[in-house]
């Protein structure tokens, strides 16, 4: 008899879990079905304490992940009834999942049509939540002698034509290249705007999975050079120094002014127009109020840019 009871209980649990999961599905669909009322709900969220209800799932770019995570802390306080699930996983995953409708927001470092088919990209709406500035970083021992590189020197270093720091006026040390995987958004930005499209010498460089590991690797190895977003450099680290390109320091101000060239948009894509919690969150991230916090975290506010960039379209 006891055995039957335990089977029954297991069965009940199984039914319970399936019921729960279908429950969350239902709630994630409510925003779209209540599209009309969500307009009112989100404007309420940005102006008063009312807050939106419902749920929202986000996945994608690991470069944007820390910012959204930070924004969510404040967002959840004003919207206690909104439940948001946030995952990293890479820009490719985020774009694919938002096009599939598996997640409500897909975070990406690149424009959707660079990684999706034309038909998929058409269904997505782009929200540029911020601009990210990438800086070449070197181990502090190099920065004692070299603080700025020309674009040509940078290209020669990353294509492994220049192999020793003394060739560019630095100490007599071999150059250790530290890079990111070839599908990384950070890498493709750096390639396009710092290296003028030149392919990095993958067969001469150490590859690291994420910017945090890259930072650590550069700080631990003399003569190492790599690149990260400014958001990774807000914590002071005496073993790491940024490198100016053609005499222009990588700072938020220089990016705003259009003087510093290695930057890119961070996108949040929604399938169709954003609604419900997704819309409220994107509105909050684009608000002036959050813009101040954003700059403190090392990200540029998209609306303050004096220069603009167009979608380069699908890769050839």
């Amino acid at each position: 008899m006891k055995k039957y009871l335990s089977i029954l209980m297991v069965a009940a649990m199984l039914i319970g879990t399936t019921a729960c999961s279908s429950g969350t599905n239902a709630s994630s669909q409510t925003p779209s079905s209540q599209a009309g009322s969500s307009e009112a709900a989100s404007s309420a969220a940005s102006s008063s304490e009312a807050g939106v209800t419902g749920s929202c799932t986000i996945s994608g770019s690991s470069a944007l992940y820390p910012l959204v995570k930070n924004a969510l802390d404040a967002f959840k306080q004003t919207n206690p009834d909104a439940s948001v699930t946030l995952n990293a996983g890479g820009s490719g995953t985020g774009l694919k999942q938002s096009a599939d409708g598996t997640v409500d927001i897909g975070m990406s470092d690149v424009f959707a049509d660079e990684k999706l088919t034309e038909d998929q990209a058409k269904t997505l709406v782009d929200h540029k939540v911020c601009v990210i500035t990438m800086a070449p970083i070197v181990n502090a021992d190099v920065a004692e002698k070299v603080t700025s590189l020309t674009t040509q020197q940078l290209i020669d270093i990353f294509t492994a034509k220049t192999k020793n720091w003394k060739e560019v006026g630095g100490p007599d040390e071999p150059i250790t290249l530290v890079t990111r995987p070839s599908t990384s958004g950070t890498r493709s930005l750096f390639k396009s705007y710092a290296l003028n499209g030149a392919e990095e010498a993958s067969n001469k460089s150490l590859e690291t999975d994420d910017s945090g590991t890259l930072l650590q690797t550069v700080s631990q190895h003399k003569g190492a050079i790599g690149y990260v977003a400014l958001s990774y450099l807000i914590q002071p680290n005496e073993n790491i120094k940024t490198m100016a390109i053609d005499g222009v320091e990588p700072t938020l101000e220089n990016t705003y002014a259009g003087k510093y060239k290695v930057w890119g948009y961070e996108h949040m894509y929604t399938k169709g127009d954003a609604a419900g919690v997704a819309k409220a969150l994107i509105d909050y991230m684009q608000s002036d109020e959050y813009g101040k916090i954003m700059e403190g975290l090392g990200y540029n506010v998209a609306s303050k840019m004096t220069v603009e960039r167009q979608d380069p379209g699908p890769k050839k």
């Binding site: 995953t93 990684k115 599908t183 460089s205 590859e207 890769k315």
Partner: protein, 294 residues
């Protein structure tokens, strides 16, 4: 009573069938995804296996290069080095546990080996990264310590318990008469171990080695942390390289789903499955041979 029996039998049979279905469907899924490199993007198997030009296009037009030879050579060389380091130690430990001092081994060595198995691979990788990599850099006075050697040592530590416990079991399973007969003929203990026990346990030891190799081949995290992931053939045991599992792990999130890059990664996953399948076949062949000899 009879009814109860059918219910349980049905339940267990269903579980078994589900497991088989799961294995088969993973295989089918990997084939479906992985064969796209050859059918959809028109690359040759030859190019994939023997070319070292790895530059797949991250889009749907294709037209890149998908030579995975660097990753394959990287995987193989790191695993062979790991076996080279681990096998002598494991064999010695197995003989010690099974023959020389069963009592000490039951109390101390056996639990230690079992704990070894339970340590997550990220811990091995992390310890390797913080201790081994700087150490290798210092000892050999290198630019950096990421190397085949570091990967080999980390993997050797990871597969050591597998080889040891399988080998020890197979030595313990040798009928006692073998030993007694050998001692009766006046052999010393060393002669018994070398001439009787190890040869008789050879199929079991080989099984352990191959199971260890299979584990080493599939390990991603720990190795990825210490080999530097440089897309180049290793020039020696002190040079960095890349391997199949690390290459899949680092690019699977960023590559566009269904694009040439993504599909090429699936092909590498398929290759891993084929290799581990081959290992299992070899193990089965060896163990069936051992049974027949006896």
């Amino acid at each position: 009573m009879a009814k109860k029996e059918t219910v349980w039998r049905g339940l267990i049979a269903a579980c078994g069938l589900f497991l088989i279905l799961l294995t088969v469907s993973i295989g089918v899924f990997l084939c479906y995804k992985g064969l796209g490199t050859f059918t959809l993007y028109k690359h040759s198997v030859w190019e994939f296996l023997f070319s070292s030009n790895w530059n797949p296009a991250d889009d749907f037009q294709g037209g890149g290069q998908v030579g995975a030879a660097i990753f394959i050579v990287g995987s193989v060389s790191i695993c062979l080095l790991a076996l080279l380091i681990a096998t002598p130690f494991s064999l010695a430990a197995a003989i010690f546990m099974a023959v020389i001092s069963p009592r000490v081994s039951n109390r101390l060595l056996q639990p230690a080996v079992e704990i070894f198995v339970g340590i997550p691979s990220v811990v091995y990788g992390w310890v390797g990264l913080t201790v081994l990599v700087p150490l290798i850099q210092k000892i050999f006075n290198l630019q950096y310590g990421y190397s085949v050697l570091a990967g080999g040592i980390v993997l050797a530590v990871m597969i050591f318990p597998t080889i040891t416990s399988v080998s020890a079991d197979s030595i313990r399973n040798i009928p006692l008469q073998y030993q007694e007969a050998a001692y009766g003929l006046g052999s010393t203990r060393w002669q018994v171990i070398r001439r009787v026990l190890v040869p008789a346990a050879r199929p079991g030891i080989l099984t352990g080695v191959i199971l260890g190799l299979a584990r080493a081949f599939g390990e991603a995290l720990a190795v990825a942390m210490v080999i530097g992931k440089m897309k180049a053939f290793p020039t020696g045991i002190l040079s960095p390289t890349n391997n199949l599992t690390a290459a899949i792990a680092s690019d699977m999130g960023g590559a566009a789903d269904g694009g040439e890059y993504n599909i090429a990664l699936w092909t590498m996953a398929l290759l891993l499955l084929v290799i581990s399948f081959a290992f299992i076949l070899i193990v089965r062949k060896i163990s069936s041979k051992g049974v027949r000899e006896r």
